[in-house]
C-alpha cells in the first residue's frame, strides 16, 4: 500500500459482474447483503428470495507470490430462509436475507450466520470428496441384490475419492427472540457468542445454544407512544470482546461495556455531533438517522453512514467525528422529492478497506464513493455493465450541481434514484470491492 501512497490514487478496474442482464428485475433476485469471509477467499451474497450464494476466489496462483486473479466463481448456492407466516400476530415473515456474517474458521468447513427479520441460522458449508464403495447387498448402481445366498463373506466398504461436491447444511436455528425486525448480527471476538439487534432490543446468543439468549439492550419505552428512537445497527468491537456499539435513528452511536453490567442499558460512551442550526430543516432528523456502523479493523475508529455523509469517529472522542465526508451533498436541495419517493429512508451500508486507509459507501445512479483518509481525496465511480471489459479502468464520474454542465458531468436531475448501491463489502486484505446493484453484483479491483 505504501507505493500507492506515493504514487497517488488507486485506479479501480472492472473485474466481474454477476446476475442477469434483463431489465425486468424479479423481486426475489434483488441482492440484500454482501460479505467477505475473514481471509477473503469466499464472498457470500443474500437476496430477497432467501437464497445465499457463495463465491470462491479463483484458486489459481494461490500460495504463490505475485498478483492473483480477483475473480470469484460460484461455489455453493442454497435456500437459507423460506417465507413464513406468524399465525399469532397475523404477520407475514419475509424470507429476505438481511445480513450474513462469517465465523472464523475452525476446521476444513466454513460457517456463516444468515438472518431474515426474525430468525438467525447457522450454516455449515463443506466440501465432500469421498464416497463409500463396495457394499454387501448393493451393487455399483445402488440397487439391492436380493439373492441372500450369494453372500459368502462380509465386505467392509472402502472410501474412494470423487469429484468435489459442496454441501450447505443448516446447523442451528436461533429463533423466537425478536419481536421486531432484526437489522444486524455481529460475531464476538471471543468466537463463542454473537448479538442480534432489532429495532428496540439487542440479544446476546451463545453459538451453541439455541434455546436461550440474553437481552443486553432494551430501549422499548413502557408506553409505545413515547417511542422516539430505534436501533438501526449494532456491531461488536473486533478485538475487545466486551465492547459493542449500536446506532440509532436519532444519529447517535452508543458504546456499551458488557463488563460493567449484565444489562447494558447505560452506555459507556455516546457519540453525537451537535446539530448545525444553519442546516436545520423538516428533514434534519430523518437524514441524521444512522444506517450503518462499522468498527475499523484496528478497533480504534467507528465509521457511520447517515443519509448524506460518511463519518469517522475516534473512540477516544465522543463530541464530534474526526473525519466527515459528504457522499452526495448535491441531494440536500432534493430532500423533498426524495421524501416523497421514500428514497430518504434508504439504508446505505459502509465499509472500511482492509488497512483502514479507505472508506467506501454507495449512492444513487449506481454510483459508489471511495474516500482516501490519508490524502483526503475521493472518487465517484459507477457500477455499470455497459462498455465494460475486464481489467478496464473505471472513469471517475462527476455530478454537476451548478447550472452549467461540463463535459462528462451528469446533472443532478438525471440521476436514476431506482438504481442504488446499498450494500458494499471490501476484501479484508486486498483492494477488491464488491457491490450489490439491485439484482447484479459487481467486483472491482484496485490497482496502484
Amino acid at each position: 500500500m505504501d507505493s500507492a501512497a506515493n504514487s497517488g490514487d488507486l485506479l479501480w478496474c472492472f473485474s466481474q459482474v454477476k446476475g442477469t442482464v434483463e431489465e425486468d428485475v424479479t423481486e426475489a433476485d434483488i441482492i440484500s447483503c454482501v460479505e467477505f469471509n475473514s481471509d477473503g477467499e469466499l464472498l457470500a451474497t443474500g437476496d430477497k428470495g432467501g437464497r445465499v450464494v457463495i463465491f470462491q476466489r479463483d484458486q489459481t496462483g494461490k500460495g504463490c507470490d505475485g498478483p492473483r486473479s480477483g475473480e470469484y466463481n460460484v461455489y455453493s448456492t442454497f435456500q437459507s430462509h423460506e417465507p413464513e407466516f406468524d399465525y399469532l400476530k397475523s404477520l407475514e415473515i419475509e424470507e429476505k436475507i438481511n445480513k450474513i456474517r462469517w465465523l472464523k474458521r475452525c476446521n476444513a468447513a466454513h460457517f456463516l450466520l444468515s438472518t431474515n427479520d426474525k430468525t438467525v441460522k447457522l450454516w455449515k458449508v463443506s466440501e465432500k470428496r469421498k464416497r463409500a464403495e463396495g457394499f454387501n447387498l448393493r451393487d455399483g448402481t445402488g440397487s439391492l441384490m436380493h439373492d441372500v445366498s450369494s453372500i459368502t463373506s462380509l465386505r467392509v466398504p472402502v472410501v474412494k475419492s470423487i469429484d468435489l461436491m459442496v454441501e450447505a447444511s443448516p446447523r442451528r436455528v436461533f429463533a423466537n427472540a425478536h419481536t421486531y425486525h432484526i437489522n444486524s448480527i455481529s460475531i464476538n471476538s471471543d468466537w463463542m457468542t454473537f448479538l442480534s439487534a432489532d429495532d428496540l432490543r439487542i440479544n446476546l446468543w451463545h453459538l451453541e445454544v439455541t434455546d436461550q439468549s440474553f437481552n443486553i439492550v432494551d430501549i422499548k419505552p413502557a408506553n409505545m407512544e413515547e417511542l422516539t428512537e430505534v436501533i438501526t445497527a449494532a456491531e461488536f468491537h473486533p478485538t475487545e470482546c466486551h465492547l459493542f456499539v449500536y446506532s440509532s435513528s436519532k444519529g447517535t452511536i452508543r458504546l456499551c461495556d458488557m463488563r460493567s453490567q449484565a444489562l447494558c442499558d447505560k452506555h459507556a460512551k455516546m457519540f453525537e455531533e451537535p446539530e448545525d442550526p444553519a442546516n436545520r430543516s423538516f428533514f434534519s432528523e430523518i437524514i441524521s438517522s444512522i444506517s450503518d456502523v462499522k468498527f475499523s479493523h484496528n478497533g480504534r475508529y467507528l465509521l457511520t453512514r447517515d443519509y448524506l455523509s460518511l463519518k469517522v469517529w475516534d473512540l477516544h472522542m465522543d463530541s464530534k467525528p474526526v473525519e466527515s465526508y459528504p457522499v452526495h451533498e448535491y441531494l440536500r436541495s432534493k430532500l423533498c422529492a426524495l421524501y416523497e419517493n421514500d428514497c430518504i429512508f434508504d439504508k446505505f451500508e459502509c465499509a472500511w478497506s482492509g488497512n483502514d486507509r479507505y472508506v467506501m459507501t454507495g449512492s444513487y445512479n449506481n454510483f459508489f464513493r471511495i474516500f482516501d483518509r490519508e490524502t483526503r481525496r475521493d472518487v465517484t465511480l459507477e457500477a455499470n455493465r455497459e462498455n465494460l471489459k475486464p481489467r478496464q479502468v473505471l472513469k471517475p464520474r462527476r455530478v454537476c450541481t451548478s447550472g452549467k454542465r461540463k463535459k462528462d458531468e451528469i446533472s443532478v436531475d438525471c440521476l436514476d434514484f431506482n438504481k442504488k448501491i446499498l450494500h458494499t463489502a471490501w476484501h479484508p486484505t486486498e483492494n477488491i470491492v464488491s457491490l450489490a446493484a439491485t439484482n447484479n453484483f459487481y467486483l472491482f479491483q484496485g490497482r496502484d
Binding site: N107, K130, L137, L154, V156, S189, C241
Partner: protein, 592 residues
C-alpha cells in the same frame, strides 16, 4: 469364533451384511442404528479385520451428522476388546483423532472422553509411541478445534511418560496457554486444574502457576473467568504460605475484576475457594472479598454470593465464626433483604434460614428473625416460598411458634395467589409445614385452605391437593383422617360440579392406600357405590376405575357381594367408555 470370510454360504452373515451396508445408508436413523451396533459388526468380522478394514473405513467416513459421530465417538471408547485388547488399542486412535477435530463440541468432547478412557489401556511404551504423538499433533494442529481437544489429554498422559517427554508436554501446554484464539485459551484454562493435580509440585510452581496468572489476566473476560475454575484446585495443592504468595494476588484481582462475569465466577466458586485456601487466608482475605461481592453493583453477582452465604458461614473457622458473621456478614444481609432485585432476595431467602443453626437461639431471635419476617412479607412470592420451604432449619433452633403468627398470613396469601404455579408450590410444602406446625395449629388455621384447593378451578392444583391429603394422613394418622379429611372428601360426592365429584373419587383412590381396608370399606366404598348412578358418564367410569384399584385390598366375599353387582350394573351402562372400564375392572379382579 468361526473363521470370518469363510467361503461357504452362511445365512447368519446376512444381518451383519445389512448392518455394514447401513453404515452408509442415506437415512440418518439407519446409519445411527448401525453405528450403535458397531460391536456386533466388529465381533462378526473378528479382531483382525476390525483393525485392518473396519477402523480405517470408519476413519475415512468422518463427515456425518453430529448424532452419528457422537455415537461413533462413544462406541470407540469401548472398543478395546474388539480390536484385540490393550496390545492393539492404539489402532483406535486414528478415528478418534479425526473426531477430536470436528466442529461440534459435544462430538469433540465425547471423542476426548473416549481417548482419555483408552489412554489408560495403553502400555507405557504404546502411550509414548502412539498416544503422545497424537496429542502433539492435536496440540499443534492448524484448526483451533484440534488444539482445544488436546487440552483435555495432558493429564492422562503426563504422569506415565518419561522425563524427557514430560518436558515436551509441558512446553506444548505452555504454547496452548498462549494460543492466539480465545477458544483454545478457554479450553486450556478449563483444564489447568486437572493438569495441576498430576504435575510435580516444583513444576507446578515454576511452570503452571505463571501460566495460570497469565490466563487470569487475559484480555478476554471469558478466559479470565475460566481460569478461576483452576484457582481452587491449584490452591488446594499448595501450602498456606505458597498459596498466599502465588495464588492470592490473582484471586484478589479477580474478586475486583472490571468484568462482572469474572466476579460472578468468583462468587459462584466461593465455597470451593474457601476450602482450598484454608482458615487463615479466609479470615484475612475472603471475608472482606465476600462482603464486597454481597454489595456488588451487578445483581447477578450479588445473587451468586447470596446463594453462598450459608455455606460460607458454616465453613468459617469455629473459633471466631460467630463474631465474623455478626459483625462482617449480617450487616450485608440486612441490606440484601430489601435489595432492588428479586433474584437476589430469592437467592438469599433460599439459604438464610440455614444460618440459625450456626448462630444459635439467641442470635436467631434477636437478629435473624426480623430478616425472616421481612422476607415473609416480600412482594415477590418466590421469596416468601423460599423462606417457608426452609422452615425446618429454624424449627430446630427456636421452634416454629416464634414464627407461626407471621407465617400464617404469608401462607394464606400464597395459597390464594392468582398464579396457579404459586399455589402449586405452596401446596407441595404443606406436608412439611404441617409437620412443623403441628396438628392443632393446622386444624385451626389451615383446614379451610385445604377445601379451597380441592375445589380449585385448575386441575393441577386439585391433583396436588389430593396428593397432599394423602401425605397429611400419613403424618397425622388415621384418627385425624376419620375426623377431618374423610368427611370433607365425602362431602364432595354430592357437589353440583362433576369435576369436584371426580376429585372426590381421586382422593378416595389415594386415601384408601394409607387408610387400609377397614376404614375404606366402612367409610369410603359406600360413597363410591353411590356414585355409580351419577348422571355424568365421566364420573361413572371413574367409579369403575376406582373399584378396580381398590379391589385387591378387599376380601373375596365383599368383592362378590358388593363390588361385583356394581360393576355388572356399569357393564350394562349406555355409555361405551363406562362399559369398557367396567369390563376391564371385572377382568382384572377376575370376576368376569
Amino acid at each position: 469364533m468361526a473363521a470370518p470370510g469363510d467361503a461357504s454360504t452362511d445365512d447368519s452373515l446376512y444381518p451383519i451384511a445389512v448392518l455394514i451396508d447401513e453404515l452408509r445408508n442415506e437415512d440418518v436413523q439407519l446409519r445411527l442404528n448401525s453405528i450403535k451396533k458397531l460391536s456386533t459388526i466388529a465381533l462378526a468380522l473378528g479382531v483382525e479385520r476390525t483393525r485392518k478394514e473396519l477402523i480405517p473405513f470408519l476413519t475415512d467416513t468422518i463427515y456425518d451428522e453430529d448424532e452419528v459421530l457422537l455415537a461413533l465417538a462413544e462406541q470407540l471408547g469401548l472398543f478395546t476388546p474388539l480390536v484385540g485388547g490393550s496390545e492393539f488399542v492404539h489402532s483406535l486412535l486414528p478415528p478418534l483423532e479425526s473426531l477430536a477435530t470436528v466442529e461440534e463440541t459435544v462430538v469433540r468432547d465425547k471423542a476426548v472422553d473416549s481417548l482419555r478412557t483408552i489412554a489408560a489401556q495403553h502400555s507405557v511404551s504404546d502411550l509414548e509411541a502412539h498416544f503422545v504423538p497424537l496429542l502433539k499433533r492435536l496440540a499443534t494442529g492448524d484448526w483451533f478445534t484440534s488444539r482445544m481437544s488436546a487440552c483435555g489429554l495432558f493429564s492422562v498422559c503426563y504422569p506415565r511418560v518419561s522425563g524427557a517427554l514430560k518436558t515436551e508436554l509441558r512446553q506444548n501446554f505452555r504454547n496452548l496457554c498462549g494460543d492466539d484464539t480465545p477458544m483454545v485459551r478457554r479450553a486450556v484454562a478449563g483444564k489447568l486444574g486437572e493438569f495441576a493435580k498430576v504435575i510435580e509440585i516444583d513444576n507446578l510452581k515454576t511452570d503452571l502457576i505463571p501460566l495460570f496468572t497469565a490466563l487470569a489476566a487475559d484480555e478476554q473476560d471469558s478466559v479470565r473467568l475460566l481460569a478461576m475454575e483452576a484457582c481452587g484446585s491449584i490452591a488446594s495443592l499448595l501450602a498456606a504460605d505458597d498459596t498466599e504468595q502465588l495464588v492470592m494476588p490473582t484471586l484478589r484481582e479477580a474478586a475486583n475484576d472490571k468484568s462482572w462475569r469474572v466476579r460472578y465466577m468468583v462468587a459462584d466458586k466461593f465455597t470451593e475457594l474457601q476450602k482450598a485456601v484454608g482458615p487463615e487466608i479466609t479470615k484475612n482475605d475472603l471475608v472482606p472479598a465476600f462482603q464486597n461481592l454481597l454489595k456488588d453493583c451487578e445483581a447477578e453477582v450479588r445473587a451468586a454470593a447470596a446463594q453462598k452465604v450459608k455455606d460460607f458461614c458454616q465453613n468459617l473457622p469455629a473459633d471466631n465464626r460467630e463474631q465474623v458473621i455478626m459483625t462482617g456478614i449480617l450487616p450485608c444481609l440486612k441490606e440484601l433483604v430489601s435489595d432492588s432485585n428479586t433474584h437476589v432476595k430469592s437467592a438469599l431467602a433460599s439459604v438464610i434460614m440455614g444460618l440459625s443453626p450456626v448462630l444459635g437461639k439467641d442470635n436467631t431471635i434477636e437478629h435473624l428473625l426480623p430478616l425472616f419476617l421481612t422476607q415473609l412479607k416480600d412482594e415477590c412470592p418466590e421469596v416468601r416460598l423460599n423462606i417457608i420451604s426452609n422452615l425446618d432449619c429454624v424449627n430446630e433452633v427456636i421452634g416454629v411458634k416464634q414464627l407461626s403468627q407471621s407465617i400464617l398470613p404469608a401462607i394464606v396469601e400464597l395459597a390464594e395467589d392468582t398464579k396457579w404455579r404459586v399455589r402449586l408450590a405452596i401446596i407441595e410444602y404443606m406436608p412439611l409445614l404441617a409437620g412443623q406446625l403441628g396438628v392443632e395449629f393446622f386444624d385451626e388455621k389451615l383446614n379451610a385452605l385445604f377445601m379451597a384447593w380441592l375445589l380449585d378451578h385448575v386441575y393441577a392444583i386439585r391433583e396436588a391437593a389430593t396428593q397432599n391429603l394423602k401425605k397429611l394422613v400419613e403424618k397425622f394418622g388415621l384418627d385425624w383422617a376419620q375426623a377431618t379429611a374423610i368427611p370433607k372428601v365425602l362431602q364432595m360426592s354430592r357437589d353440583q360440579n362433576y369435576l369436584h365429584r371426580l376429585t372426590c373419587l381421586f382422593s378416595i383412590n389415594l386415601l384408601a392406600e394409607v387408610c387400609g381396608a377397614e376404614v375404606t370399606v366402612r367409610l369410603m366404598i359406600p360413597t363410591v357405590f353411590g356414585m355409580a348412578g351419577d348422571a355424568v358418564a365421566n364420573v361413572r367410569f371413574n367409579v369403575a376405575k376406582t373399584l378396580q384399584k381398590l379391589g385387591p385390598m378387599l376380601d373375596q366375599s365383599y368383592l362378590q357381594s358388593n363390588v361385583k353387582p356394581c360393576l355388572l350394573k356399569l357393564k350394562g351402562d349406555t355409555d361405551i367408555d363406562v362399559q369398557y372400564y367396567a369390563v376391564e375392572a371385572l377382568d382384572v379382579l377376575k370376576m368376569a
